[in-house]
């Protein structure tokens, strides 16, 4: 509660400050675009979204992508460029636009589940809800500025993902169901803020994760049944690694490291702040 209150106060203050700006007359425009899947086997998606609300989800089968923008036409124009399996989508502004003014923008994007996806997502001061479960994700780079981002793999990834790179600036970043991502390599870099990495889900392969956190708190939700080995760098961060045993070399291990079917190797570099480890009970092989 004590941690929610200041943010609530800040949000209310920001809303009050932003109110006169948003109350000014706007030319709100809604643009929806979609494309059906043709012969495409792969889709490279580049998303650039300055500020506002961003939602990403799987599209129905047969659809390559669907997008829906809501924005102020006086300050922005949408970009939807598609050519030969490459999609560039986002909002562009001809001039400088204050973050306050761009808060009202929205982008709902749905991507096809039938094609192999390479995702390059960059967004600034945004509130983002990214549901990547059920897609055929091969690799993804997600870079956020000052944002509140929730990334979820509610369903298993249908492909084998090579890597997932998350770069969070001054942000609250939460990733749930990373076990469903069927991911070989996870790289997380966080500057300032709260980061939650939840590794629950259906594990199908081993994962290597590298997590670098500057200032803030990092919470690791580790599923029981997955062997965990944690290597820690950085001396100032406080780590609460209950459930892990430390060996002579300074590595932390889960008790079932040797016998577990799937393994998670974590390299953790936290400068300041707190690292919390939580254990969650999940059915690792649930359909």
């Amino acid at each position: 509660m004590s941690r929610v209150l200041p943010w609530t106060v800040l949000a209310l203050a920001a809303a009050l400050v932003a109110a006169p700006a948003t109350a000014r007359s706007q030319d709100v425009r809604v643009v929806a675009a979609q494309r059906q899947r043709g012969a495409e086997e792969q889709l490279d998606v580049k998303i650039q979204f300055g500020a506002g609300e961003l939602n990403l989800a799987p599209a129905p089968a047969g659809t390559l992508y669907r997008s829906r923008f809501r924005y102020d036409a006086r300050n922005f124009e949408p970009v939807v460029e598609y050519s030969a399996g490459k999609l560039h989508i986002g909002l562009e502004s001809p001039g400088r636009v204050s973050v306050r003014r761009s808060q009202a923008s929205e982008l709902d994007l749905a991507l096809g589940p039938d094609v192999a996806l390479a995702l390059d997502l960059q967004f600034g001061a945004a509130q983002a809800d990214l549901e990547l479960g059920g897609l055929n994700l091969r690799r993804a780079v997600i870079a956020t500025g000052a944002s509140e981002t929730t990334l979820r793999f509610s369903r298993p990834n249908t492909g084998q993902a090579e890597y997932l790179r998350l770069n969070a600036g001054a942000a609250a970043f939460r990733a749930y169901g990373l076990g469903n991502a069927n991911l070989s390599r996870l790289e997380v870099e966080g500057a300032v803020g709260d980061i939650v990495l939840d590794f629950s889900g259906q594990w199908r392969s081993d994962m290597t994760a590298s997590v670098k956190v500057g200032l803030g708190s990092l919470t690791l939700n580790l599923p029981r049944g997955v062997g965990v080995r944690l290597a820690r760098e950085g001396v100032l961060a406080k780590i609460d690694a209950h459930g892990l045993v430390r060996d002579a070399d300074g590595y932390y291990y889960s008790e079932d490291w040797g016998s577990a079917r799937h393994k998670l190797t974590l390299r953790l570099d936290a400068a300041f702040g707190a690292v919390n480890v939580r254990w969650v009970d999940v059915d690792l092989a649930a359909p």
Binding site: P6, R29, V30, V31, A32, Q34, Q36, P60, V80
Partner: protein, 433 residues
């Protein structure tokens, strides 16, 4: 934009004739209400745009055919060309927007069915939109004319949707006549435009010449004007600082004097402390933020720390500057006043006033020199540089003195010399006398 030449007009006319002939030939089939190749289309991509002024739909189907239909500010546009008008918020506008709202949510076959099933409201404009949609969705290569002819800038909104070859020939003649008229009109417009441009250029040249002559005459006064502006600005600063200084003396003379005493008696130390403080202000500010964030429970204090710290620094610097002015005024007074003058003028208000005068004197001198013209630019620059350096030194010493004396509560003044011990025997002897 120049009007077309005679040869261009001729070429355009032949192109028009050829295009309409081809259109007429290919349009023979639609005239019989039978599309050439009616086949079910698959929508490859679609884009819907809705706003207060625009309601647009772009669809692309298999085979690369596409159509762009937009209702924009009362005008119907098909593939970017005006194809008629509509009433805003009228039946057609509402029906079209309803269709687009549904189209945003539909995809694939549903979208095809939705668009094909759309019933345009009665009227030619609605029929034209329906036909444009059908031309793409049915895969029919229907008549090209489709009310979108644009000849020599004339949008033919009233063109019929399906024509016979005879009617087309008739329309060719009609359009040729209109093209001739519009060409004559265009030539006239171009001549008029050239004439206006010539006149505007001539007027601009006259105005430029007048401005140049004015500038030469006004040059000597420019320096006087600049100098006067600077002088007024400095005097205003003096007045404002003096008023603030009086308020400080009135409400907190003890503290101001404490800081002033520290600045006088520990000038070097105050200067060094002030210098160090000015360098450390930013790191302290940032470290404070980090510390509060790390402590988590201190996060609410950020709301106080972030705005109040800079304000406190600025207030401390201003307070210090006034204290230095006070010290300078007091030092001057000690050299000037004798006897009863002390009782009349020896007070803090006077010190602040004269001290501020001392600190700002160089600025005033610089602006007076500036008024003399460009010949004394070097002297002006030198005086201004010295004035800025003096101000910077005063602020540094003042800030340091504020810190050393804890805002004047603990003045750093030398301890008073011990009074000489009174020889007790003397009094005893006197007593004996």
């Amino acid at each position: 934009m120049y009007p077309p030449t005679r040869s261009e007009r001729k070429a355009t006319r032949w192109l028009l004739v050829s295009a309409l002939f081809v259109a007429g030939m290919t349009g023979a089939a639609p005239a019989l209400d039978k599309p050439l190749d009616a086949q079910e289309a698959r929508i490859v991509s679609s884009e819907v745009a809705l706003s207060r002024d625009v309601a647009g739909l772009t669809i692309e189907v298999d085979g690369g055919r596409s159509v762009r239909i937009a209702l924009r500010n009362g005008v119907i546009e098909i593939d970017g060309v005006r194809a008629g008008t509509y009433d805003r918020n009228g039946r057609l506008d509402r029906a079209w927007r309803d269709l687009l709202n549904d189209a945003m949510e539909a995809s694939g076959d549903d979208l095809v069915a939705l668009l094909k099933g759309w019933q345009a409201p009665d009227g030619e404009a609605g029929a034209r939109i329906s036909e444009a949609l059908a031309s793409v969705l049915d895969g029919a290569r229907t008549l090209v004319v489709r009310g979108t002819l644009n000849v020599g800038g004339i949008a033919d909104a009233e063109a019929p949707t399906q024509d016979t070859i005879e009617r087309l020939n008739e329309r060719i003649r009609e359009l040729e006549a209109r093209l001739r008229e519009s060409s004559d009109e265009a030539v006239l417009k171009a001549e008029l435009r050239q004439e206006i441009e010539r006149e505007v250029h001539e007027r601009l040249r006259r105005e430029q010449r007048a401005q140049q002559s004015d500038r030469g005459w006004a040059r000597p006064f420019r320096y006087i004007g600049k100098g006067m502006t600077g002088l007024v600005s400095t005097l205003s600063t003096f007045l404002v600082m003096a008023l603030i200084g009086f308020a400080v003396v009135f409400f907190g003379r003890k503290y101001l004097e404490g800081v002033a005493d520290t600045a006088r008696h520990a000038t070097l130390r105050s200067g060094l402390v002030g210098l160090a403080a000015s360098f450390l202000v930013l790191p302290v500010f940032i470290l404070g933020i980090i510390g509060l964030v790390i402590s988590i429970v201190g996060i609410p204090l950020l709301l106080v720390w972030i705005p109040l710290f800079p304000i406190a620094v600025v207030l401390a610097a201003a307070f210090g500057y006034l204290a230095v002015a006070h010290a300078a005024g007091e030092a001057l007074a000690e050299r000037r006043f004798y006897g009863g003058d002390w009782f009349r003028l020896g007070n803090s208000y006077y010190y602040v006033l004269t001290g501020l005068g001392i600190l700002l004197a160089l600025f005033i001198a610089a602006h007076v020199v500036q008024m003399a013209g460009p010949w004394f630019n070097f002297l002006y620059g030198l005086l201004k540089f010295l004035a800025v350096m003096l101000t910077w030194a005063a602020v540094s010493i003042g800030l340091g003195a504020v810190l050393l004396s804890r805002a004047g509560t603990q003045p750093q003044v030398p301890a008073p010399e011990p009074e000489p011990e009174t020889p007790s025997g003397l009094f005893e002897e006197e007593a004996n006398v």
